[in-house]
């Protein structure tokens, strides 16, 4: 299996994350109501997270911060796609399941069948799913209907099937080229989210090349002038450009940036799922990790990885749902 690719080493992941944080995000601030993280006693053991590839770097950053507070803890991070998270969490082979989409009812059912209660999903960051093109591509913006026409074989959005760049208003030599498609594999939450919101629940074209990771998508788009692909905006590089998007009927295109976060059509929560038996307390190891995620440090890591942090309100609700008392 492709473990060499996806079982990201801590160091490598951190390096990538530092590169990926775009300058546009420099002004994003963590909600000042979130507390500083304060280490406590008695935290030791192994943490395994299995799940989203989009959140791989983020998990690595959290792990790094958590380890500096608790050197005795061992953390293993595996990111093969969001759909691997429920499977591992249900089987008990992981402590945390980072997912770039919410669990489906089927997945919750499978968990509940085994454990008798549903898993708890903690919204930990906001991601904007970006549609990337090669940096030399002049396309100004796309409507969701056009995105649907480019990527889907069903065109539920009501647009036409789009195979050439000239169909979306690109002129010149570029216009004559066919559009080459990159996407994620079906295990990915990004795949599922994009399918539901970008393709109106329709099907991907068979010609979308399914890449095992978000960075592979960006790399593919960077290497082909006529390419288009989607992944979390945290993976943007200098070789690709995120296309501004809008819904049909909106006055202007919205960029995948913080200023437009409220209106950008493909903004979503990123989650971490945890097996929490209702009415019981979490063990200190997991409890402290969750508290770390919702601390100032944890949310700064979110910014560093190119995502948008959650507010104190969301953090408080999330901590409550995992049976942790929020002291802020």
């Amino acid at each position: 299996m492709h473990t060499t690719r996806t079982r990201t080493g801590l160091l490598a992941a951190v390096a990538v994350a530092t590169l990926a944080a775009g300058p546009a995000l420099a002004q994003v601030k963590v909600d000042p109501k979130l507390p500083d993280y304060e280490p406590t006693q008695g935290v030791a053991g192994n943490i395994t997270t299995v799940g989203s590839d989009t959140m791989n770097n983020l998990a690595a950053l959290w792990a790094e911060g958590y380890l500096s507070a608790y050197p005795n803890v061992r953390i293993e991070i595996e990111g093969m796609g969001s759909s691997t998270a429920p499977v591992a969490l249900t089987a008990g082979t992981s402590n945390f399941g980072p997912m770039s989409r919410a669990m489906t009812e089927r997945e919750i059912d499978a968990f509940e069948e085994r454990h008798g209660y549903p898993p708890v999903g903690l919204p930990v960051a906001v991601d904007m799913l970006a549609v990337f093109v090669h940096r030399d591509n002049p396309v100004k913006g796309l409507t969701l209907q056009q995105v649907d026409g480019i990527f889907s074989s069903t065109q539920r959005g009501g647009g036409d099937n789009i195979t050439r760049w000239s169909d979306v208003g690109v002129g010149g030599a570029m216009g004559n080229q066919n559009i080459s498609l990159y996407g994620r594999n079906a295990a990915s939450g990004t795949y599922g989210y994009f399918k539901e919101h970008g393709l109106f629940g329709g099907d991907f074209k068979n010609s979308v090349r399914e890449q095992p990771g978000s960075s592979a998508v960006v790399q593919g788009v960077a290497s082909e002038r006529n390419a288009i692909g989607y992944s979390g905006m945290g993976y943007a590089t200098a070789d690709v450009r995120a296309v501004p998007l809008k819904n049909e009927g909106d006055e202007r295109y919205y960029k995948a940036s913080v200023e437009d976060a409220g209106d950008y059509p493909l903004a979503r929560f990123l989650y971490v799922y945890v097996n929490h038996q209702p009415g019981r307390d979490l063990d200190p190891l997991r409890r402290e990790f969750i508290k770390y995620i919702y601390s100032k440090q944890g949310q700064e890591a979110v910014i560093r990885d190119g995502f948008i942090p959650v507010s104190a309100y969301v953090a408080r609700e999330a901590l409550k749902s995992a049976g942790i008392k929020a002291e802020f």
């Binding site: 008798g116 209660y117 906001v126 593919g220 209702p278």
Partner: protein, 900 residues
């Protein structure tokens, strides 16, 4: 002269008995080998049996595991049949909303009433619309008002006792066994396996009523929630069709909710001779409204242009005289419309693009008002127990593509619609009044609630794996939104209403395509290399070359795949014309080198013979710059200056494509023709000629051959393109959904790249085995042939190769097996697109790569998981069949070789 019996030539007595050591060794070796052989067979059979073991349950049919009947819980309150019934996801607590506006809670297993509540004490309910698992509802009243809300199941977990040991629940609850239910505190309580109690209750949350733009009673109501807004359509007594858009935006940061309202009256006039519409239904995406009458008339509204919602299609859904629609519903996702009729047929309709040429089974449109480019087709027809038994109820699954259908005679059928699979059949047990009036499925697809006038039937069932049937796996299936049945693989998605597409054919096709192109590149190279090294190369050089080639096999395939995808593919993409040219120039250069070598005077020739091999290498290397510089020229000459545009059919004609494809075939044909007709004549005449003259004539013959080949291919290409009219760039060769055209749009990761790189994997194997086979041909055959005056070429081609054919054949077959099962190279370099195009310039998805990609996400024991095992089994069967065939053929060749 006969020898004396007991004496050998040496004078020693010959031992007639075998020594003990030899005997022991013999027995040991024999048993070890037997054991090993049996072990191998057992191991292979065990793998096979395991694969079958996991995959076989896919094709078992569902069954009822439990059932219960009881009188209608709402009958006590004198309420009519409910508008809606829902149960929680453990099938413990049920709720029903009856037309009088009351909510009834009851135990699902016994029917015991827990609570009854009047939801609208002051108003009269006239219409209602219920969402799926989310629990969203809209009610309509006789004063023209509507009320939106949520009716949801709530779950609480209780412990037996608190930390101090004080019991938290009463004794009768404590006495429960695991999974036993009890009505408790407005709901149902169950003991979980974790020794907690799960308490289910129902939570009703109704918003403030809102007024529609009319005082008239609301008769029909339908709504959907999509992308944060609710679309609501209502038909009121005064004959108006009203559309409301409720837009809610939740700020991700603050959790604040903004609500926008927009209402609009839809253009609607009652058709002559018809009363109020019998059904009004809003599609799941809020983009269409279906208005139906029981006589089969359907009006479809397109809402996508918010400023101009309009009727786009008016059709008749029934065909026969007197036929009536008796039930109307949706599939999960509210995208496919389901109609049941008085003749017992259940039909599933959805919209497909009109211009798609393949549209079949579309009903005649009575009245095309203003088309929106799509039309309704009847994709699935599910038959009832017998012709003429009316469909009386439809119940859609809340989590999959299943549909339950109830009939007038009490029969209940459960279908998996995508696969047209009848999952199970049962019936209600109310002899007096069996007709199924309402039918609802439980959230987890494990229970059915069939309501008749007499009572409730609850069925618990095991659905098994209904999405996979032998026909749906291997034959085309008509999936939602597609204009015709087709082969597809799209197995999973993080989406609730997703229709999984389990067609193995694209993967099998991908496997065969990978194998074909890999063998196309690898096989000739490997076999010719083996013939060359074994028959023409000096022994010393041979001893060095063989290990070098074998070393190629030591490269891990993941490294090869990595290099192919990230290094080779981007580079080749820049130089496609040069690459194509290299295919022609490199072999030509080698041949030309050979002919030039012949021009050398005899003395030089004799002296330089050891340098022949380096000379050819130099010639081949010299061909590469020619290919690189000639590439753009060829592109301009053949492909109208832009290969990609040419491949997209934007420029040029198909002639160039046929020319390329026919070139190798014509070259071989010319070579054969020359050796049959020209060579004998030349040979006879050449006896008289000088050495130089012979060499020159040979060179001239090569030149003529070249010209003939090119002319022949051009001629044929022109004939095929312009006379027959075929284009090699797509469209003209479609068989069973496969597109066999070999030259189409260029993708960076494609079959050509895989073919190149897979060479590293298969060439060493084929080469080694072929070389061994050729070497195994006894030297006396070679000597005899040479002694009779044959040249080394004649000896190799006419004697050695036919003799070693069995070995060469098994080499090829082992290479084939390797190529078919290869995973990493394909996974990384082929793009994994499950296409069915023979195009050498695009990707594919093989069975092996698919298993590697998808197994981590497949939940164990599920349909997807077992489908992957079925894919593995298919791969196993393919390679097993190939190997068996190869062995049979090999034995036949060997028999022939022995006869020599």
């Amino acid at each position: 002269m006969p020898q004396p019996p007991n004496r050998s030539i040496t004078g020693h007595r010959r031992r007639r008995t075998t020594g003990l050591r030899v005997k022991v060794g013999d027995v040991a070796a024999r048993s070890l080998i037997t054991l090993g052989g049996i072990g191998t067979i057992v191991a292979v059979s065990a793998v096979f049996i395991f694969l079958v073991w996991v995959a076989a349950p896919l094709f078992t049919s569902g069954r009822i595991v439990d059932r219960a009947e009881y009188a209608n819980p709402w009958a006590a309150a004198n309420a009519a049949l409910p508008l809606h019934v829902a149960v929680d996801d453990h099938n413990t607590l049920g709720l029903a909303v009856t037309p009088d506006g009351r909510l009834h809670l009851f135990r699902v297993d016994t029917g015991e009433t827990i609570e009854q509540r009047d939801l609208f004490p002051e108003r009269n309910l006239t219409a209602a619309s219920f969402g799926d698992r989310s629990g969203d509802v809209v009610f309509g009243f006789d004063d023209g008002s509507i009320q939106m809300g949520m009716i949801t199941f709530e779950t609480r977990y209780l412990d037996e006792a608190d930390d101090d040991g004080n019991p938290l629940v009463p004794d009768d609850v404590l006495a429960l066994d695991v999974y036993e239910n009890l009505a408790y505190d407005g709901g149902v309580i169950t003991r979980t396996p974790r020794n907690q109690f799960r308490h289910r209750t129902v939570n009703v949350e109704l918003r403030e009523p809102a007024r529609l733009d009319t005082p008239s009673p609301v008769r029909r109501l339908s709504h959907t929630e999509y992308a944060g807004r609710t679309m609501l359509v209502s038909y009121t007594d005064d004959g108006r069709l009203l559309l409301n858009e409720v837009r809610e935006r939740r700020n991700l940061m603050t959790g604040e909710v903004r609500i926008d309202l927009a209402d609009r009256e839809l253009p609607f006039t009652l058709p002559p001779g018809r009363g109020a519409p019998d059904h009004v239904a809003m599609a799941g995406l809020g983009d269409n409204i279906f208005v139906l009458w029981n006589d089969g008339r359907l009006l479809r509204y397109d809402l996508r242009d918010r400023d101009d919602p309009r009727v786009v299609e008016a059709i008749d859904l029934v065909e026969e005289e007197g036929e009536q629609l008796t039930a109307v519903g949706f599939m999960l996702g509210r995208h496919s419309l389901v109609t049941g009729d008085s003749l017992g047929r259940t039909r599933v309709w959805f919209r497909v693009a009109e211009q798609a040429a393949e549209v079949a089974d579309a009903p005649e449109t009575v009245d095309r008002i203003d088309g929106d480019g799509v039309r309704m087709v009847n994709a699935h027809e599910l038959s009832g127990p017998e012709h003429g038994t009316a469909v009386t109820a439809l119940g859609r699954s809340l989590g999959s593509r299943m549909l339950s259908v109830g009939y007038a005679d009490g029969t209940v059928r459960l279908f998996q619609v995508t696969a047209d699979n009848l999952v199970l059949e049962t019936d209600t047990r109310h002899a007096s009044d069996p007709a199924v009036a309402r039918l609802f499925m439980s959230p987890r697809d494990d229970g059915l609630i069939a309501v008749t006038d007499a009572g409730v039937n609850v069925f618990a069932f095991d659905r098994r794996y209904p999405a996979a049937t032998p026909t749906s796996v291997f034959l085309p299936v008509w999936y939602e939104d597609y204009p015709a049945p087709r082969h597809m693989w799209q197995s999973s998605s993080g989406q609730a209403g997703f229709e999984p597409k389990f067609g193995l054919f694209p993967l099998i096709f991908g496997t065969l395509k990978a194998t074909f192109y890999s063998m196309l590149f690898g096989l000739p190279l490997a076999v010719l290399a083996a013939i060359y090294t074994s028959e023409f190369l000096h022994k010393k050089v041979r001893a060095r070359i063989k290990p070098v080639i074998e070393m190629m096999a030591s490269l891990p395939s993941v490294v090869l795949g990595f290099v192919a995808a990230l290094v080779i593919a981007p580079v080749i993409e820049q130089v496609v014309p040069a690459t194509l040219l290299a295919f022609a120039v490199v072999p030509l250069a080698a041949l030309l080198g050979g002919f030039l070598w012949q021009l050398l005077p005899y003395e030089w020739h004799a002296r330089l013979t050891p340098w022949r091999f380096p000379f050819i290498v130099v010639a081949v290397i010299a061909a590469i710059p020619i290919a690189i510089f000639g590439g753009p020229l060829v592109e301009r000459l053949l492909f109208a200056g832009n290969l990609r545009a040419w491949l997209n059919q934007d420029a040029g004609s198909g002639v160039a494509g046929w020319f390329i494809l026919l070139l190798p075939i014509c070259a071989i044909a010319t070579a054969i023709a020359f050796s049959l007709f020209v060579n004998p004549a030349l040979r006879r005449a050449g006896v008289e000629w000088s050495r130089l003259k012979v060499a020159l004539m040979d060179l001239a013959k090569f030149g003529v051959g070249l010209v003939v080949t090119v002319t022949l291919s051009v001629l044929l290409a022109v004939v095929i393109t312009h006379v027959i009219g075929w284009d090699p760039r797509g469209g003209d060769f479609r068989v069973w959904g496969m597109d066999l055209s070999p030259l189409q749009s260029y993708e960076q990761r494609n079959a050509m790249i895989v073919g190149f790189v897979m060479g590293f994997a298969i060439i060493p194997i084929i080469y080694t085995i072929s070389e061994d086979a050729l070497n195994a041909v006894p030297d006396h055959l070679r000597s005899a042939s040479m002694g009779a005056g044959a040249t080394p070429w004649q000896t190799a081609m006419r004697l050695i190769v036919p003799t070693a054919m069995s070995g060469l054949f098994s080499a090829a077959m082992i290479g084939l097996g390797r190529a078919a099962g290869e995973t990493m190279i394909v996974l990384m370099a082929a793009g994994n697109t499950p296409l069915m195009e023979m195009n050498i310039f695009n990707g594919f998805r093989t069975l092996a790569a698919n298993i590697a990609v998808e197994l981590p996400e497949a939940s164990m024991g599920g349909t997807h998981y077992r489908m992957l095992f079925l894919a593995a089994l298919t791969l196993f069967v393919i390679t097993f069949a190939v190997n068996t065939f190869a062995e049979v053929v090999r034995l036949r060749f060997r028999k022939r070789a022995y006869q020599l």
